[in-house]
Amino acid sequence: MKRKKDYKEWNNKSDEELMRLLQQGERDVMILLMRRYKERIITFIFRYVGVYETAVDVAQEVFVRVFRFCNTFTGNDKFSNWIFTIAANLARSEFSKALTRPKLTLDANYEDGDEERTQIIDESYMPDSRVDSSIAAQIIQKALMSLPPNHRMMVIMRDVQELSYDEIAMIEGIEVGTVKSRINRGRLQLQVLLRSLYDELVE
């Protein structure tokens, strides 16, 4: 275990310097990196997938991958861009997996003459009141979830995580122009979806 002195020393270091220490075998650096990024990463993934448990699982996997592939981090790029790239890729694959999962469940009901009953899962997004306690936040999250995945990802990166257009372009590996147009389209769709909230505010 590391002494408190080491943690204090590491606290003043940048993310990139911490990554260099991790590459040299200082495993405990991961705790500091987690403290700096865990909430941002969980928030980012939650806003994209919409399920808290999934968001936490994927965020854990993100940090495990940071450790596993720390040697591939060259230091030419910002650490935040690198970790957001991992998070975006994992969130996207998790979301697509959830879409392809079978949507029918067989629920055995033994009371009604041992009949097996087919139950159809409600596909509409249910807001997580543990995370979004206010109704406004729940409505916004629901609106986000109804955006196309690509637009949603961009809008979350720009308007929730407040990343720059250049950073988003770097993370997604696409042109800045494409990022801007996707964000614009996403925002326009959100304006329509959030009309009720807007009208309430104006009144």
Binding site: E39, I42, V131, I140, L190
Partner: protein
């Protein structure tokens, strides 16, 4: 000079007079962005860091140190590959030899009559060899059958025995 100044002033006045067009949905756009930026931060569960560190600990047990580096990985993977290939060759080699050409065991050679001399004819040699080979095959089959019987209670995983149940012991 005066003319230049006058023309500059004119240009500035014209720019002021021209209003920059504002999109109709400007206000809505601002409101939407404000909504999004005010979404609450999602907090991590208290066990988050511990879980990650446990997973990392499990990973790093099998991970080579920095000093080993890529060469360590290469050597380890090479050694594993050689082991697999050697095991495969040994397995298939053994199977083929038992089926086609069983080698005489030293015990049976001892059982052969001691007074056998090189004077015996080649025909006698052949018949003796044949009988020895047949005996060997039979014994090997017996051995393998008894080994299989013994291993009936063993688990499918080699090197691990299943615990016998109480019922079985009673029987």
């Amino acid at each position: 000079m005066n003319n230049l100044n006058e023309s500059e002033n004119k240009g500035a006045k014209e720019l002021k007079a021209k209003k920059v067009p504002i999109p109709n949905d400007f206000e809505k756009g601002v409101v939407v962005r404000t909504f999004l930026s005010q979404l609450p931060v999602v907090s991590a569960p208290p066990s988050f860091e511990d879980n990650v560190m446990m997973q990392i600990g499990a990973l790093s047990e099998g991970k080579p140190t920095q000093t080993q580096g890529k060469w360590g990985y290469a050597l380890a993977s090479g050694a594993a590959l050689t082991c697999i290939v050697a095991a495969g060759i040994w397995y298939f080699g053994n199977n083929n030899s038992t089926e086609t050409n069983p080698a005489p065991t030293p015990i049976i050679i001892q059982e052969a009559p001691a007074n056998q001399t090189p004077n015996n004819t080649s025909v006698e040699h052949k018949t003796m060899n044949n009988t020895i080979e047949k005996k060997n095959v039979k014994e090997q089959r017996k051995n393998s059958q008894s080994f299989q019987r013994k291993n009936d209670s063993a688990s499918p995983v080699p090197g691990f025995k299943t615990h016998s149940t109480g019922e079985h012991e009673e029987d």
